[in-house]
C-alpha cells in the first residue's frame, strides 16, 4: 500500500518542465482542477487498500471451497456475510422477544398473577456478546491504567523503587493470560461469596485477567516517560521551589503523558487479544464464548459464524487502536504547544 502512495507523489512533484503549460492552462479549470486533484488523491489513497481487500476476498472465495472439513467446505466471504446477516436477524428477533417478555410480564403484574418483575432471561445474541466483551475490556483496561500509571510514575521518579520492582515486572510481563486464569478464577470465586453480586463473577474474572496482562506496557512506558523528563525542567522546578506534588502534576505528568498514552494504546491492544482467549477458556460471556459455543455446535453454519466473529473481533480491535491513536496524537500535540 505504501508503494502505491510513493508512485503518486513523485509524479506530482517531478514535473518542473511542464509547470509553465500547466500554469497557462490553469485559469480556465482552476477550481474544478483542484477539486478533481483532491478527489483523485483520495481515490488513489483508497484505491490500494480497496484493491488489497478485493484481492484477499477473491483469493478467499476461490480457495475456501477447496478446503474440505468434516463440517463441509470452508465458507467463503458470501456465506460468512450471510451468517452475519443471520446473526443480526437473531439479534432483532431476540429484541422483539424481549419487548414481548416485558409486555407480558407487565400484564401479569397488573393482573396480580406475578409478584415481582424479572429481568429478561433469553440467551445472549452475538450483538450482546460484543457489548459484553467491550464492557469487560473497558473495565480491565481502566483497572490496569489505574494500577500501572502510579506505579510507573513512582518507578520513573525513584531509581531505587524502579530497581526493586524491575525483576518482578520482567517476570510477570511475559506470563500468558491462560496461566493467570485458574488463579484469578479461584481467588475471585473465593472472595465473591454473595448469591447475587453487583458484578457477575465471570465478568470480574475476565476483567482482572485483562488487567493483569495489559498492565505492563502502560507501566513500563510510564516509567520511561517519567524518567526521561528534561533535567532543565526539573532544575526550573527546583528554582521555583515546587513541592513534590506540584512537581509531579506540573512537570512530570505533562511530559510523561505521550509515553503514558503510547503505553495505554499497547495495553488496550493486548487487553483485547487476552480477553478473547480468556473468554474462550473460562466460558465467560463475550465474543470468545460465542466462538467456542459455535465450535462446539459443529453445525453446518458454525464455521461461517466463527469466521464472521473473527472479522468483527479484528474490526473492533482496529477501531479501539484508532481511538487510542487519536487520543495519543491529541495528547502529544498539547505537549509541544
Amino acid at each position: 500500500m505504501a508503494t502505491a502512495f510513493a508512485d503518486i507523489e513523485p509524479v506530482g512533484q517531478a514535473a518542473p518542465e511542464t509547470t509553465m503549460t500547466a500554469l497557462r492552462k490553469a485559469p480556465a479549470v482552476a477550481v474544478p482542477g483542484t477539486l478533481q486533484l483532491a478527489l483523485a488523491r483520495h481515490a488513489r489513497a483508497l484505491l490500494a487498500p480497496l484493491l488489497g481487500i478485493a484481492a484477499f476476498l477473491g483469493l478467499w472465495a476461490a480457495l475456501a471451497p477447496m478446503v474440505q472439513t468434516s463440517l463441509g467446505a470452508l465458507p467463503g466471504p458470501v456465506e460468512v456475510a450471510a451468517q452475519g446477516g443471520a446473526l443480526f436477524e437473531e439479534w432483532q428477533a431476540s429484541n422483539e422477544a424481549k419487548v414481548q417478555f416485558y409486555a407480558d410480564q407487565d400484564a401479569r403484574i397488573a393482573a396480580g398473577t406475578q409478584a415481582a418483575a424479572f429481568d429478561y432471561s433469553g440467551s445472549p445474541t452475538f450483538v450482546d456478546q460484543v457489548f459484553t466483551s467491550l464492557e469487560t475490556v473497558a473495565l480491565g483496561f481502566v483497572l490496569a491504567t489505574i494500577c500501572a500509571v502510579p506505579i510507573g510514575l513512582a518507578a520513573g521518579l525513584s531509581p531505587l523503587f524502579n530497581a526493586a520492582i524491575n525483576p518482578l515486572v520482567q517476570i510477570m510481563k511475559p506470563v500468558s493470560p491462560l496461566a493467570w486464569l485458574p488463579i484469578v478464577t479461584m481467588v475471585v470465586s473465593a472472595t465473591v461469596t454473595s448469591a447475587d453480586p453487583v458484578l457477575a463473577k465471570s465478568f470480574v474474572i475476565s476483567a482482572i485477567v485483562v488487567m493483569l496482562c495489559s498492565l505492563w506496557p502502560t507501566l513500563i512506558n510510564t516509567a520511561i516517560g517519567a524518567a526521561s523528563i528534561d533535567k532543565d525542567l526539573l532544575n526550573v522546578g527546583r528554582v521555583l521551589r515546587l513541592g513534590a506534588f506540584q512537581k509531579l502534576t506540573r512537570l512530570v505528568l505533562p511530559s510523561a503523558l505521550p509515553f503514558i498514552f503510547t503505553g495505554m494504546r499497547l495495553s488496550l491492544g493486548v487487553g483485547w487479544m487476552v480477553l478473547i482467549a480468556a473468554e474462550m477458556l473460562a466460558q465467560n460471556p463475550g465474543l470468545g464464548k460465542f466462538v467456542w459455543d459455535e465450535f462446539q455446535n459443529g453445525s453446518s453454519q458454525s464455521l461461517a459464524r466463527i469466521m464472521f466473529a473473527v472479522v468483527v473481533i479484528g474490526l473492533i480491535g482496529f477501531l479501539l487502536d484508532r481511538v487510542m491513536m487519536s487520543l495519543q496524537a491529541l495528547v502529544s500535540r498539547n505537549r509541544t504547544v
Partner: protein
C-alpha cells in the same frame, strides 16, 4: 485546577486499588436473610435462576421447560447457559455462578465423597434414561467389521461384544501404540459404561491410582477425557480410536463419515440412568420452594418430551438445534431423538428406548442407581478402600433425594398434571437388575457382593499401585 484534578486522580486510584478486594469480599454480607426469605409467587424464594448445561440432547428437559413455558408457569425466570466441559460446569455450580446444572450422575456423588472438588451436592431428579453410544473410528471399524457375525439382512448382529476388539488391541500393541479411547469425565456414566463394555469383552480399561484422574494403570485400552462436543474433532484428528459419549455426538460421527457407532448404552445396561439435575445442598436447603418449583417444571417438560409415543419429539429437535442449545444440525439431532439410531452408514435400527425422559419412572432418583455408580468407582479404584454395604446406602441417601422428587411429582399428580401411575411405589431400590450385556445380576442392597461378582475390576482388599493391583 490541574492540581486538584491530579490530586483527585491519584487519591481515587489508590482508593480504588485498595478497596477493590474489600468491596468484592464485602459483597458476601450484603445478602440479607430477609431478602432471601421473601416469598414470591407460589413460595418461590429465588425466581431468577441460571442453570448450566452441556451441549447434549439429554439437556432437553431444561430447554423444553424454558421454551414451552413450564419454568414460567412455576414462577421461575430461568437463564440457560452452555458450559465448555463438565469440570467448568461443576465448578460453576460449586462456586455459585450457576444455581444448578444438567449433570453427570457421578458428579454430585463424587463431589460429596470428595473425589475431585469437595462440595455437598444433591441430585433431586434424574433427567433421562439411556442416550449414549460408543463409536469407533473408521480405521478400527474396517478391522473388526469382517469378523462380526451377520444377521439375515447382512448387517452385524447386536449387541456387539468388545471381545471383537481384542485382536485390534493386540495389533496396536505389537506396533508399539497404545489403543486409546475417549470419554467425557472420570466420574461420568460414559466412562463406566465404556469400561463395563470393554471389561465384559475381556479388555482391561485400567485402574485409577489413589488421587489420580488418569486411570490407565494395567490398561489394555487407555481412556482419556474429552468434552462431548469435541469428540468428533478429536477422533478425526486421530488422537483416539473411539469414544463413549451422549448424543448427538455419535450421530455427528456418522454424518461426518468419520466413525461408526457400535453399541448403545441401552444395549450395555438396559434402561440405565443418565443425567441428573445437580444442585448444591445449601441451595436446596435455603430455597426449598424454588427447588420444588424447578422440579415441577422439569417433570412437566419430561412428560411433554415423552407424550403420546414421542409426538413432540420433532418440535423438540427443532428447539435443540438452535445455536444457543445443542446447536448441531437438526437432522443429526433427529437421528437419535425420534426412535431410530443409525449405526453404520445405511444401518438405521429401531431404538425406541434410546432417549427416555419420563416413561419407566425415568425422573425418579433411585438410591440403587447412585450405589451402582459407587460400585464402579470402587471397581476401578476411584474409591481406594473398601466400605461396607451400609456406607454405600448412607452416601446414596445423602446425595440422591427422592423425597424432593416425590413432593414435586405428587403435587403435580394432585393437580392431575401427571398421572399418579407415573410415580413409582418404591423404597428407592430397583428390583434385581439383570439387564447388563454380560447378564451379571445387580442388587443395590448388596454392593460389595456385586463388586466381587464382576469379571475384571478390584476385589475386596485390593489396592492399586503404580506397578499394578496388589492384595488378595
Amino acid at each position: 485546577m490541574r492540581k486538584v484534578r491530579g490530586n483527585g486522580f491519584t487519591r481515587q486510584a489508590a482508593a480504588v486499588a485498595l478497596m477493590a478486594g474489600a468491596a468484592l469480599a464485602g459483597c458476601g454480607k450484603s445478602d440479607a436473610p430477609t431478602e432471601a426469605a421473601k416469598v414470591v409467587a407460589g413460595g418461590v424464594e429465588k425466581p431468577s435462576l441460571k442453570l448450566g448445561f452441556i451441549k447434549l440432547t439429554d439437556m432437553a428437559p431444561l430447554a423444553i421447560a424454558k421454551e414451552k413455558g413450564f419454568f414460567a408457569e412455576e414462577g421461575l425466570n430461568v437463564m440457560l447457559e452452555p458450559q465448555a466441559n463438565w469440570k467448568v460446569l461443576l465448578d460453576g455450580v460449586i462456586g455459585a455462578q450457576l444455581d444448578g446444572a444438567h449433570m453427570l450422575a457421578g458428579q454430585p456423588i463424587a463431589a460429596t465423597l470428595g473425589l475431585g472438588t469437595k462440595a455437598e451436592m444433591i441430585a433431586p431428579i434424574s433427567l433421562d434414561l439411556n442416550g449414549n453410544a460408543i463409536t469407533l473410528s473408521n480405521r478400527v471399524w474396517s478391522l473388526i467389521e469382517p469378523t462380526l457375525p451377520k444377521g439375515a439382512d447382512g448387517e452385524p448382529v447386536h449387541p456387539i461384544s468388545a471381545s471383537v476388539l481384542q485382536p485390534v488391541v493386540q495389533k496396536f500393541r505389537q506396533e508399539g501404540k497404545p489403543f486409546k479411547m475417549g470419554m467425557v469425565f472420570p466420574v461420568s456414566t460414559h466412562n463406566y459404561e465404556l469400561r463395563y463394555w470393554l471389561a465384559a469383552g475381556g479388555l482391561n480399561p485400567g485402574y485409577y491410582l489413589p488421587g489420580d484422574v488418569g486411570g490407565t494403570t494395567s490398561a489394555d485400552v487407555q481412556l482419556s477425557v474429552t468434552p462431548p462436543p469435541q469428540m468428533p474433532a478429536t477422533l478425526e484428528a486421530g488422537t483416539i480410536e473411539g469414544y463413549s459419549v451422549g448424543e448427538p455426538w455419535s450421530q455427528a460421527a456418522v454424518k461426518k463419515k468419520i466413525g461408526v457407532p457400535v453399541i448403545t448404552d441401552d444395549q450395555i445396561w438396559h434402561d440405565n440412568p443418565e443425567k441428573v439435575l445437580g444442585l448444591r445442598k445449601d441451595f436446596a436447603d435455603k430455597y426449598p420452594g424454588t427447588t420444588a418449583a424447578l422440579l415441577r417444571a422439569i417433570i412437566k417438560a419430561q412428560q411433554w418430551l415423552d407424550a403420546d409415543g414421542g409426538r413432540n419429539r420433532a418440535e423438540a429437535v427443532q428447539i435443540l438445534s438452535r445455536s444457543n442449545y445443542v446447536g448441531a444440525d437438526a437432522d443429526v439431532i433427529a437421528a437419535s431423538m425420534t426412535g431410530k439410531f443409525t449405526f453404520g452408514p445405511g444401518d438405521t435400527r429401531d431404538a425406541a428406548g434410546f432417549n427416555v425422559f419420563f416413561d419407566r419412572f425415568a425422573g425418579y432418583p433411585f438410591y440403587s442407581d447412585a450405589i451402582w455408580t459407587m460400585t464402579q468407582m470402587r471397581r476401578w479404584g476411584q474409591l481406594s478402600v473398601d466400605h461396607d454395604d451400609a456406607w454405600y446406602a448412607a452416601q446414596a441417601r445423602a446425595v440422591y433425594r427422592p423425597d424432593l422428587y416425590l413432593a414435586a411429582a405428587k403435587a403435580l399428580a394432585d393437580r392431575k398434571v401427571i398421572p399418579a401411575a407415573a410415580i413409582p411405589q418404591t423404597d428407592g431400590f430397583k428390583p434385581l437388575d439383570t439387564g447388563f450385556i454380560d447378564h451379571v445380576p445387580y442388587d443395590g442392597h448388596k454392593p460389595n457382593a456385586y463388586i466381587q461378582s464382576l469379571r475384571i475390576g478390584l476385589k475386596q482388599g485390593q489396592k492399586v499401585t503404580a506397578s499394578g493391583v496388589t492384595g488378595y
